[in-house]
Symmetry: C2
Subunit: 431 residues, 2 copies
């Protein structure tokens, strides 16, 4: 091996970092199941023509090559396009509506920088085949539970609608400038209203149009107040009325929780959204969006799948993980680590140590047997380095007396414990 | 999308098949944790020169290409070579000894056939840095628990030693013919002893040598008898004496269980084994090996890692999954499916249905809300197709009376239940 190293943008995971990753994935999977979502896994490689033509400018970031059978193949670049392929391929085998989640790595030959990798996991949950707002409401409730279970205590969900954004463009008198308006409004949080205004004037070439946009996006108040004001302003634009009515429905269905804010500023970049759009933000620390979602009723068909309404949510799990690691957050249930190290004092005592380890496992404890005879200090050291809280020492005298010495690595104390009651004794202390 | 299809040798997973897969992976992960093994995940792509030169003839099956940065890269082909790279790269960060497991997909541009895929998962558990037999003993005990938890009730572990195989070659008088002897002996189960004898004569060109090999490999009896006979036959060959002594230690450490059989026929193909080798076989149905392992003290260094003893085990999880699906096996804990479908009777009742679903989830049930208003028959149909055992129907009268109708899809019965006691009512029936 000339270079014992990973490719740039690729990572190895082990130890605490991998434990946290697996726990975060588990929190989401558990939640998806609680909400009746079904898993999907698609292959790492697809025919290139399944993926190509779907990502616009970003297409050059697709890992693509010719395989040994002269097939033009490409590595999974996102989870949406493969899902559209699955919808087309198995249309009659899949339940309808189909609630599915997918958590898999994707690969992008992108520039690397802090927090941006060439191999990273995406996490999508989508409902295919329903156009009703209860889909959006459930995805939002699920997102709230996810962030709460991950241990975040300060976050909010900002909700808007593509229909309202379209209506704003009409209201401004510049419907053709939709993309410009979205671009200008999208930076709202990072600028003063006056800066946004100047940008809008610049883009629209019309002061009055800019002011009409500002009038709408600067509405404030609680959700009902915001929706009422929007209703008044956009009353003459049917698409806006419809978008507002949908948001009102979402507010009702979710029970208008504290964490949900209707906010006409939210645009959510991707062009394919057709209805409600939303973004999750961690409030403290100015971290910005960690997830979001929206309705995209035309996307599946445009990707070659069947013509069906759809809405979905996704979380930036690599970003969430980075934040959790930076903040030293651990998940409420605690990291799943080894609870007990059983030491081995001599070759002759190896069988006894192994038997003790098996007894403890049979009682439901997670137990590592130190895999060789070494000085006790070395073995205790290992327990320390691996954060194993209890060490069982079974010397010749102890084994004869059906006892062990139990060392509490946290407190530093040790005591003799009858082997028959050892598991219960430890359980009482680790639970 | 011109071809809505997966590449040959690649698979999509969803529904029951994915549920079973995830459960099988969980059984192993849970066991690895109980035994104090730590997870490892390595990237899908490596520098090609990390992988090349490691797989001999099979090298042509490595998916390899030049990326957009002109790097020569290759897709993960197995889990051992990347682990050797990790051992080299993070030598001082890893605990020593290091007990690690890895469950990840690998990619091979191989011919496809029944049960052989181009993308499939491998599962390895290895201990790096210990040369003691308790490592082997633990890996065997773990394997026994895995097969038992997966629901297999008839299987065995056949154990041999590379040292004993070497000694057999010496005993035959043809130490240079080791590979031939192993090849002939390896097919023992599929042939009569006379066929093996003729093959050996053919390969060794010496009737007496063939008979001496046969004399050793046809020993029978319980483990102690087999070990005693081997000891007598190979008493003059130090390597054989050592191999037998190691196997004796394993038999003692594992408690000589019913499922363990010392068997000098087992060779386990790979050339890199240096000590004990073993294979797991499902006894009923003539399925052959579903897993195995062995000691390979020189491999890590030969792959570019540090010079350290190692032993490991791996299971053919795709094969196990195929067998479990063929046999309609489900895992003892039962598949994790949705327990309750909450129906939606009208737009006006959507909020009530959503609230009921949330109430049930808060009580720990897995609940799918049918995501649109449809005829009740359609919604019940969906529950049936998705094997959801209970359906909650909340019509206008029920919602007013704080009640629901609960339909038991298995029994076909239905009854009115107070909403306040609904979760407990269902729990009592699903548990």
């Amino acid at each position: 091996m000339n270079r014992p190293q990973t490719l740039k943008g690729f990572r190895d995971f082990f130890g605490d970092q991998l434990r946290l990753r697996k726990q975060v994935f588990n929190v989401f999977e558990q939640l998806f199941r609680e909400y009746g979502f079904e898993g999907l896994e698609t292959p790492a490689l697809e025919y290139a023509d399944v993926l190509l033509g779907k990502y616009g400018e970003d297409e050059k970031l697709v890992y693509r090559f010719t395989d040994s059978g002269e097939r033009d193949v490409a590595m999974r670049y996102d989870l949406t396009v493969p899902t559209a392929r699955v919808l087309a391929q198995y249309q009659h085998e899949l339940p309808s509506p189909w609630k599915r989640y997918q958590i898999q790595p994707v690969w992008r030959a992108d520039n690397t920088q802090r927090g941006r990798y060439r191999e990273f996991y995406q996490l999508d949950a989508d409902v295919f085949g329903s156009s009703e707002m209860m889909v959006e409401a459930e995805l939002m409730l699920l997102g709230n539970k996810a962030l709460s279970r991950l241990g975040f205590d300060s976050y909010r969900l900002r909700v808007n609608s593509r229909k309202v954004l379209n209506a704003i463009a009409s209201y401004s008198g510049k419907p053709g400038k939709f993309a410009d308006i979205v671009s200008a409004v999208d930076k709202w949080d990072k600028r003063t209203p006056e800066e946004t205004r100047l940008d809008l004037i610049n883009r629209l070439g019309d002061e009055q149009a800019a002011d009409r946009v500002l009038q709408v996006v600067s509405v404030s108040g609680d959700n009902n107040e915001v929706l009422s004001t929007l209703s008044e302003l956009l009353a003459d634009i049917p698409e806006g009325v419809e978008g507002i009515s949908e948001m009102r429905e979402i507010v009702t269905l979710t029970g208008d929780p504290d964490w949900l804010a209707v906010d006409p500023v939210i645009a959510r970049g991707l062009a394919y959204y057709t209805g409600p759009v939303w973004e999750w933000e961690i409030s403290d620390g100015n971290i910005g969006s960690v997830g979001g979602g929206g309705r995209y009723d035309c996307l599946v068909a445009s990707l070659g799948g069947p013509d069906m309404p759809a809405a979905g949510t996704s979380f930036g799990i690599e970003r969430l993980l980075d934040i959790m690691q930076e903040r030293n957050m651990s998940i409420a249930q605690g990291p799943i680590t080894t609870q007990v190290l059983v030491t081995v004092m001599s070759e002759e005592l190896a069988a006894a140590s192994l038997a003790i380890a098996e007894e403890l496992r049979d009682k439901g404890l997670t137990v590592s047997l130190y895999p060789q005879v070494r000085k006790l200090g070395k073995q205790l050291d290992y327990a320390n380095k691996n954060s194993i809280p209890f060490v069982v020492i079974a010397g010749e005298d102890e084994v004869k007396a059906d006892e062990v010495v139990l060392k509490d690595m946290t407190g530093g104390t040790q005591e003799s414990v009858r082997r028959a009651g050892l598991a219960d004794f430890i359980r009482a202390r680790v639970d």
